[in-house]
């Protein structure tokens, strides 16, 4: 047992492992950079870096072909920490190297935490409109809404992943029925069925009876998004079918039906993140240089109101001057509808400070190390002179 432990420690503290991992990371970054042309930035991050292995699809089965960013970064982190634990001998002479390595550890941990915790949403507001939620760029959800109450909606939000990995019907304590996914399309267009179509409609309730689903290849371009669609069946007690519905992010309006004396709404929509506060767009400004169409400034005047009444103020958000509130940062990101709609990017990254700390530590550490060598060299020259 002791031998196994020793060889385990020897492996993780080995400099050879460090070199191999650095070489692997160079290859990973090189290949991922080339593949960015095909996949775009988000898909590359997910495929190569925010994963333990890079997979290739061989006849429908994912086969791991190369260690991913989490694997290499994780081992590098363990390697670095283990080396310090086992070979750590504090000496002022080495303080620069220690500080640099500590900075590197924080950088690696920071990247891991960013990958795990960062949330990136957007908030679209027309002038005069108030919203208390932002929407995801890439993630979608099936919202099943109990809309019976005249003032409140009770929402059950099922992430798209559950539709994709459907095996058993989805059950939730707030739903009097179960949701069975009969077909799922990661990217699809829906259009009206041709009058002459003889094939059965994909669903028998609401708009689904008059639609055709056209599966499309997935897109990875940064300025396009996949529009998933699915056919779902709702199952009552004893697996009695309540009908089948087509849901798609292309369908703007929720589909309504009554069941068990309550009114329900179904919608596949961009994933929402509700906040305990709301923003109202008072005015969007798009200033141009006089006599030209060249943009000079974009800004959004918004009113921020918290639900508990402690905050009620007006804020101007413009380029490089975001609103920071409740751990979120709201950046001016876009506009629409002839300058009457603003698009704010909403980012939450609790570990945003770590890369700054890491870089300062590494900078100071390298400076100390360099200065020590410089002073020793100068002193040595003086002695020989």
């Amino acid at each position: 047992m002791r031998d196994i432990w020793d060889s385990f420690v020897q492996f993780f503290t080995s400099l050879r492992v460090t070199v191999v991992l650095l070489a692997l990371s160079i290859v990973l970054i090189f290949v991922a950079t080339l593949d960015q042309v095909n996949l775009g930035i988000w898909a590359v991050q997910e495929k190569y870096f925010q994963t333990f292995f890079v997979f290739w699809n061989v006849k429908g089965f994912p086969v791991p072909v190369f260690p991913g960013g989490y694997f290499i970064g994780g081992l590098l982190l363990i390697n670095l920490i283990a080396s310090h634990i086992y070979h750590f001998r504090f000496a002022w002479k080495k303080s620069g190297i220690l500080l640099t390595h500590a900075g590197l550890i924080i950088l690696l941990v920071g990247e891991l935490l960013t990958g795990l915790w960062q949330e990136d949403y957007q908030l679209r507001l027309d002038e005069g409109q108030t919203r208390n939620y932002s929407e995801s760029y890439r993630e979608n959800e099936l919202a099943i809404i109990d809309a019976t109450d005249p003032d409140w909606d009770q929402v059950v939000a099922i992430p798209e992943k559950h539709l994709r990995d459907h095996r058993d019907p989805i059950q939730h304590e707030r739903l009097p029925f179960r949701v069975a996914v009969r077909a799922y399309y990661p990217n699809a267009a829906v259009e009206a069925r041709q009058e002459s179509a003889t094939s059965p409609a994909p669903a028998n309730r609401d708009i689904g009876a008059r639609l055709t689903i056209i599966p499309l290849a997935m897109t990875y371009k940064p300025n396009e998004r996949n529009l998933p669609a699915a056919v779902i069946e709702l199952l009552g007690p004893g697996n009695a079918s309540l009908g089948t519905w087509v849901i798609s992010t292309m369908l703007v309006q929720p589909q309504t039906f009554d069941y068990a004396g309550r009114t329900w709404r179904l919608a596949l929509r961009f994933e929402r993140a509700y906040k305990p506060y709301s923003l109202t767009l008072l005015k969007f400004s798009h200033d141009r240089y006089i006599g030209t169409e060249i943009p000079k400034n974009f800004s959004s005047d918004v009113r921020l109101q918290s639900d508990d009444g402690t905050t009620d103020r007006e804020v101007r958000i413009y380029m490089n001057n975001p609103l920071r509130y409740d751990g979120m940062t709201f950046y001016q990101a876009g506009f629409d509808n002839n300058d009457t709609t603003t698009v704010l990017q909403v980012v939450k990254n609790p570990s945003w400070i770590l890369p700054y700390i890491a870089c300062i530590m590494m900078g100071v550490g390298l400076t100390i190390q360099f200065c020590m060598h410089l002073f020793a060299f100068v002193a040595k020259r003086r002695r020989t002179a």
Partner: protein, 229 residues
Amino acid sequence: MPSRHALILVATTALLAFSGCREAKITSYRVPKEAPPPAAVNAASLDPHSDPHAGLGIPPVNSGSMPVASGPVDMASTPVPTATGDALVWTAPEHWQSRPASPMRKATLIIPGDAEGQQAELAITAFPGDVGGNLANVNRWRQQLQLAPIGASELRATLTHVHAGDLHIDIAELLGPAPTDGTLRQRVLGAIVPFNGATWFFKLTGPDALVAREKNAFYAFVQTIRPAR
């Protein structure tokens, strides 16, 4: 040194534990009711004689928003990934009647039949990539006609390969099963045209006799397809 062992173990376990903690969960919450959207569009009036997409609430492609260069593309105008880029043009026979284009279609043409209300429809669409390949596309059409899917070995016999200039075109002709409910048997003539990284579909659907009558016209029409200058 057991404390060092423990530290390494903790570091490894913590790393692995962190990596698995982002799981998409089903959530439930209560929110104030939103103001109703401007128009009830989904379920209501779907007049098949008008724009085939009217009433679906399908956002128009490239609906004219202009996100700033450094920011993310705004959501409402994110293009539906129909094929953009270079276009194809064609010359249709005179008796084929053109209908307005729609967001999902490049063009729609109607061919009137002899009987009252009888007609065939040519839908022209284009999507990026190969949309699953010829087999998947032919099987999608077969499914629409309630025909069983075919395998790769039968695909070659199903497709007729023609050339129109530099374009390589595969044409499939499919005859639906004889209906028992008194409706007309359906026939499909579909041309698949790969062009500049996209795939264009020219699909003529209608009653068997009418589409069979228009078969020569369809083949002649396919020969007129060419890249727009």
